[in-house]
Symmetry: D2
Subunit: 364 residues, 4 copies
């Protein structure tokens, strides 16, 4: 299968293809009905080598591939190019899974001519950049027109949020839409795959342990959640006027972020009503190839959700919520626990779902 | 070493001696200057066997001993008696580490003649029973006189709180004393040794996982924290008028409970002021044999406290606090993370420290 | 879907249905083309309750289900009966996943009228009982005729081996067939799910640890491997005349048994020749519904096989072999590492594959 | 405390002081009666910063300190120099804990004037370099005189073996001395701290897993064990004429190497006799400050040794042996399991013990 033979599909480039998020893009695009991998790009170090070789540890020769299924055979031979030399015009769409500093420099170059869907944080907080979660705030997408015009680009940059924000914003959205979210206290227990690229979390740090700090994470969760729950104003998003207070910790869990949430709502909402609101939420993503059956799955078993048991539900694309109960901290308080798959809905597959929605809605 | 040779020491019985908490009593009383183990009691199943035999797994013969140091040689030969047949008058003090239903039935029998210091929850919520943490609320101890009188006992029952309450109440106390604690939101990530007796947490449940529910735990934390921070009134404790809202989870950590805390205070308190208040707190336990140098240790490294690195600080008797920072959730909000050793300060060694304080203060 | 509607399928009973192996039977029989679950049986304690209820922890109410996919909806309502009251004539085949002592008592009762395929060890070592691994020694199956005749049964009992034996015997078979296996030294690092029923491995025992002893396991591995590699003689299996020396340990791995094997062969065999022999081995199971594409998968990456990455290969039904290299311990020595899925090929799914083979070959 | 005030102590330099092994040197030398830390050296990157600063992660600021006890306060302020600029004459002894390539280049420079005790592998296999384990083969030490003379050095280089070799050679030595070791098959399950410097083992690789390959390790174990069990000949060690065949794996264990050993002896030796030989072995290290009470501890509990329970026995300096049983693989076969602390006896503390022995015997 080569991109040239797939004239009916959009040709995509994956940049940062050797990292965890990049691999997840490769994995998620396996047999995709609408997008075909045309270019793989990574750092200068990997450039010029076939993808299968670039995945190997320089010292030990081990294949450093993090997805459950083996890499698709046909991509192993694709030559990796340096991200800095990617000519975006050769493809229809760029999936960017690079580090933030690289994203800041290179994403505008690609966006000059092509849409860039990014997992990087570099442009998340710019005024003319919407921070999109399909099913939650696709109504912010028209801001992309403003971005294009203002920056003189033919393409655009659209980032997805931090993986810890994703599950939180999804679970809050149906409550916010109906009752108004006023205050949020959240403690995350995050899986180690969320630490991203090599070396990621060192085993000596996390075995038999909890690490109570992830630099920058809490600020991202607060800022991004408010932006995503906000409304599209004149050329910018007006953040939701709520307070979000987070403690982000790392747990000895391979994948899946668990979050204990306490929320103050603007009106009375029983646990049953909250469950119904979450279960009924239709975020307008039904029918997209990567969409879960339900954006949110509410579990009645009080011992759920658990990251190992629930992270892969619905292809890792649903947010599992449980332990819904009143919270006497606030007049209209509610507590719950959620599990979200940080490297699926929270990263590449979530970005892919976003691209599918943008494609459907005419943005690509 | 036998009890009879130790005429200057108080003779103690440990009931529930084969469980984790009971073993920690045995371990903590090794070479104790003031108490000597005279009697070991456990369930009917263990009765009549030497302690060293009773510790063995019936099926496999493995020694089921959970403390870091091997059991003291001289106790391995002590015959275990059934708790139900313990004649409390043969000893000066009973350490009770039995399950709650057993405690409910047997502790009053022992208390009829002797003081009972208990890790069980059975009597924690009775009106005339103080719930004591040395260094925090020893001023509630006079309630024991009321208890004795009301129940016609020569002894008394004094429980320590749930291990998750312990660290929380200790960390809050200096803030409560100075500023008043109004609201508390806490998420715990608890070590597996806290699940107590065999079989405890099953490995298949917790490896690569977080379990978001521990039955009964959240109610205990709320109720006990308010009682401990309360004031001694007429024949009863008047609970502190604060709200405590908890989510208790189990993490893949051997020992040590980590708690992410968000607290609303009655007045303005900077992180630095909070740290100072905690560091300076002198709970009146200095000089007791099992007392830590500091009841609370405040760490400046943002990656601390971590359960594996900090649980054993000061013999597992200090509460390690870190990540002190403002919390915009509330007008006078503060956030922090604490680590407390659940089977040391939070269980047997904490009960031992309490017994030492009661001994010093003339209650034994 | 109920059994009565499935007249073309064989009706099966699963006994021990609430344990791990029993659950794996339930899971493996989901939509099976040839067998339909008609009866679920377990201990007296579970009897009379719907399966979905019997799976719940008595104390906490948690669903104790260990498979990755949720239990098939239609079985949750099936009433559980006591294994002792199972009338085998109501079904066509019994899958027995009970403890050994229960198997010893009950399997003959069922076998009097129906075939019993068992994961229990009770009858593995009887003279007229073959110990079958499909793809390895189905040529031992005719011994079932002897068994029937000798015992006056209409059915029979056919056990599968211990889960640690399974991977070893499979990997050795192609070598044994061509070169003759003379001596085997094996060290296993076994996953915790292999410890079977509640409570299984206690988390406090295995986190940050290796347990170097599994009672009875080493003897089983030695005895069973020799029987499986043996030849069918007059009314009995003549064991292979090799020495098998095992050290069986438990590792902090959820599922999958890893085995480091050193083998002395009867003739010269290069690693490449061994790999070819393993890859080419056709055990006569092709086309069976639960059969893997390859009974053995040989990996060239020196860091493989790894239990987490390889246990689920080919539905958990292939044995992954790697690190093939000469072993100078013996004249014709070979070393390798294997990973086998202990609760799939090594338990229920392996038993199911065996039943499929026996069905095809006219034994059912 | 500064080195200049400690005129009665030998002044030592630790090179590679920021890595795990280097930290263990710093930790082990705390209050040492005979050696005082005078110089800390590391890579160019750390040079010029106080040790406490050099230990911090560049990106996150976290203190990367791996020992249980906090670093001694007085060393935190010591300036770190670049190893390449160490003037060995400023100290009396160099402890080298650098990577092998660095060792190859720099150790000869230091050895020109001062003794170098090294954990690196660079010179382990040179003809005039003994590979010493105190208590096992101090009778090889006179080879250092040959080395000095041949190389024209005033000092010398003496490496300790690989941490996996250490426990194996110690356990075999009493058997070898009495019966002769002819063949050894060993499977190691190694703790992650053995992977050394940053980043060490990545958490995503080892959680819920076993990694069956450690590059170079098996060759080291074979070669080093034979050299250590060999005899001192004319200007070189004559290796023991035995075969050592190893499979080295990495397990999800923080510290401690577990090894399953199968050994063919030259004569008949019952498990009891082997246990007695091990228990009685007096390696001539009694009385040295870092020496364990017993070089080998033999455990009767069949579930021991376990790395978490036994690694710290006797300060991490004893090798714990259990599961001694006959091995029918060979005429005089024996099987056992051992646990050795890879970063204590197997690294810095072992090197320190060696230095103590060399000091006592007049080599320093």
């Amino acid at each position: 299968m080569t991109a040239t033979r797939l004239s009916s599909k959009l040709r995509v480039a994956i940049v940062g293809a050797t990292g965890i998020a990049g691999q997840q893009f490769v994995d998620a695009l396996r047999d995709h009905p609408r997008f075909a991998i045309a270019v793989l790009a990574a750092s200068e170090r990997s450039a010029g080598r076939p993808y299968g070789e670039a995945l190997r540890d320089a010292k030990t020769g081990a294949l450093r591939w993090w997805c459950a299924d083996a890499p698709p055979a046909h991509v192993l031979d694709l030559p990796v190019i340096a991200g800095a030399r990617l000519d975006a015009e050769e493809v229809d769409l760029v999936f960017s899974a690079v580090e933030s500093d690289v994203a800041r420099e290179l994403e505008p170059k690609w966006a000059a001519t092509r849409p860039v869907v990014s997992t990087a944080s570099a442009y998340r907080y710019e005024e003319d950049v919407p921070l999109l979660i399909p099913g939650v705030n696709l109504d912010h997408a028209p801001l992309l027109h403003v971005q294009r015009k203002r920056r003189g680009w033919r393409g655009f940059v659209v980032p997805i949020p931090n993986c810890t924000t994703t599950g939180l914003a999804i679970a809050l959205k149906p409550l916010h839409a109906r009752y108004g979210v006023e205050r949020v206290a959240v403690t995350s227990m995050q899986g180690i795959s969320g630490a991203g690229r090599s070396p990621g979390v060192v085993a000596l740090d996390i075995l038999d342990n909890v690490v109570p700090f992830i630099p920058g994470e809490e600020e991202k969760v607060a800022r991004e959640t408010k932006k995503i729950l906000g409304v599209l104003g004149e050329g910018a998003i007006v953040p939701a006027p709520c307070v979000v207070s987070a403690t982000c910790t790392r747990a000895a869990v391979l994948e899946g972020h668990t979050e204990a949430v306490s929320v103050a709502l603007g009106g009375s909402c029983s646990p049953a009503a909250a469950a119904a609101a979450m279960r009924e939420w239709d975020g307008g993503i039904r029918g997209l190839p990567s969409a879960p059956k339900h954006l949110i799955t509410v579990l009645d078993d009080p011992f759920r959700p658990q990251p190992r048991l629930d992270r892969d539900a619905d292809g890792g694309m649903t947010t599992s919520v449980g332990r819904l109960r009143p919270d006497e901290l606030w007049p209209h308080g509610l507590r719950f626990v959620l599990v979200s798959h940080n490297t699926k809905m929270g990263a590449a597959k979530g970005a892919l779902l976003l691209a599918e929605a943008l494609d459907r809605d005419g943005y690509l």
